[in-house]
Amino acid sequence: MRTKHQLLIVAGSLLCGCVGASTSGGERPAPAGQVAVTTEAGTQFTGSPARIDIRVDHNGSASIELAIAGADSDNRTWSLQAALPSAALDSLVIEAQLVKGPLKAGDATVQLSSSGGDPVLASGGQLRARLQGGKIQGDVLGTTSNLAASFAGALAVTCAAPAAGAPTPPNGGAPVLVVDEKFETAACKPYAELARRTE
């Protein structure tokens, strides 16, 4: 199909002398992936910015998770998730041991998954990363070559805290946290500077 808009807009304007044309809605293609992962085996994955999610509970204790995920040209996903001690956000240095099971602070999991298939998890190794200038750069070491990788790219920080207006659990249930997008709550304010540096 061929569009003839340039010519016809002009024609329309000439005919009635009362019409202006406006191009609206040029939705642009998606930007390139914002985090890049290259495995030791040489496969490249790209994805959304790495994420640090901070959750502050009613007692003021913060749990911190790091997540990175990227897809390759075959639609396989390489992903990393780590539970971080709060000191990691002070030093901006992340170190974690790779485990295959549930995560506790200082643990990380790295996995490779195909669409519809069970993931292949690293059973041992280390994660080392550094946060700097709103970006993250690091390595996964000591595991198989399809999981060991270097990664670098953009970083986004989120914070959630107890707040009014959240869904209410039944009596005795754990409270729901609300994502504070602007880091305005007392609980999330201390992380505003970290978030600002990642914008």
Binding site: L8, G12, G47, S48, A166, L177
Partner: protein
């Protein structure tokens, strides 16, 4: 001609409360961010008195996924106010879209014809001189290389179906807004769950309410496993599989919104685990792992971390995490079928 943002900007009302010695901020789910539209002498540049559209049958057949995307897109806006009064079809031999002929044409085109964009809408506007200004013609063109198959609620990418909804927003006179909205400038697209995940959001419908008014009253609850994170759209939960033992807890993050013009009242909300992938998992066998009550005002939204605990009796397996709003069906909504979504995160239970 100016561009205006209508209604209130995000209003996180902050009130400090002191409960049990802890400082808790009252972070009320916020009113939707503003929609944007052109103005002339202070009044919106919109359709007045209704209009018609002509489907380009040469590129949008009478059946199939592109046809259903077309109907979903115009319905996403027109259900709130029937600006489009007649849906006409051009002859199948007419394979061009002409501008300035007074006919609103909707069709697929080669991407190169729209400057490489996913979609483009060309509006013919009257000159802004005295008084208000109208849209005289709008031609919607969508790239013909997009995927039109419905996607899951955790899909992160570009779909022809969402591009259709986006371009029909321009048809109605709305401009881009980089909020949680279908009118965002660039993909990835925000999608909800259910069998038709491409839709508009409170930040979009608040604009409809402002400039056209709603011809229908009610709430419309819709969740999303995607959200605006920093400057881009991403999955709210990490796209990964997390290992969990029975009797342990974690959270799933989800966006909850009300795109209707009436407060929802108290509705029920649940998180459930299922080994069944979407789409079948939206209504398949399931284990409910947490329940909540909630309410959302008209055009409000928020993003929440919902806690859940893996039951002691749950068999080993890899589970999808589903979130259902109003699963009890107690709220009469403008649109049903968009109340469930699925997280990008899976849970591996083996201990």
């Amino acid at each position: 001609m100016n561009t205006q943002r209508g209604m209130g900007m995000t209003t996180f009302k902050m009130t400090l409360l002191f409960v049990l010695g802890a400082t808790i901020a009252a972070l009320v789910p916020s009113y939707a961010e503003a929609a944007a539209w052109r103005t002339c002498n202070g009044s919106p540049v919109i359709w007045r008195g209704g209009t018609t559209v002509h489907r380009n049958r040469c590129s949008i057949a009478d059946t199939g996924v592109v046809n259903s995307a077309y109907w979903n897109a115009n319905g996403s806006w027109n259900r709130f106010n029937g600006v489009i009064t007649s849906f006409l079809v051009n002859d199948a031999s007419d394979c061009s879209i002409s501008h300035g002929d007074g006919e609103n044409e909707i069709g697929l085109v080669n991407r190169t014809a729209i400057d490489g964009a996913n979609g483009m809408t060309i509006l013919q506007l009257g000159l802004c001189f005295i008084g208000s200004n109208d849209i005289d013609e709008a031609d919607v063109m969508i790239a013909n290389d997009l995927n039109y198959n419905p996607v899951f609620g955790n899909f992160l990418g570009t779909t022809g179906r969402s591009t259709f909804v986006h371009e029909f927003g321009h048809f109605y006179g709305f401009d881009h807004e980089d909020a949680h909205a279908v009118m965002r400038t660039s993909p990835p697209h925000l999608v909800t769950g259910g069998f038709e995940p491409s839709t508009n959001w409170p930040s979009d419908t608040v604009g409809m309410s402002s400039v056209y008014g709603f011809a229908i009253n009610g709430p419309n609850l819709l969740p999303s496993a995607l959200g605006v994170i920093g400057a881009s759209v991403g999955t709210l939960d990490a796209n990964t599989t997390v290992a969990m033992c029975r009797n342990t807890s974690r959270t799933t993050r989800v966006y909850l919104g009300n795109s209707g013009n009436v407060a929802s009242g108290t509705y029920n909300l649940r998180v459930r685990l299922s080994t069944t992938a979407p789409f079948a998992g939206y209504s398949g066998s399931t284990t409910v792992v947490s329940t909540f009550t909630h309410s959302l005002g008209a055009f409000t939204q928020g993003t929440f971390d919902l806690p859940f605990t893996v039951p002691s009796t749950l068999p080993n397996g890899t589970y999808f995490i589903y979130v259902d709003m109003d699963h009890t069906g107690s709220i009469a909504e403008i649109l049903e079928g968009d109340n469930s979504t699925v997280s990008a995160m899976r849970v591996l239970v083996n201990c």
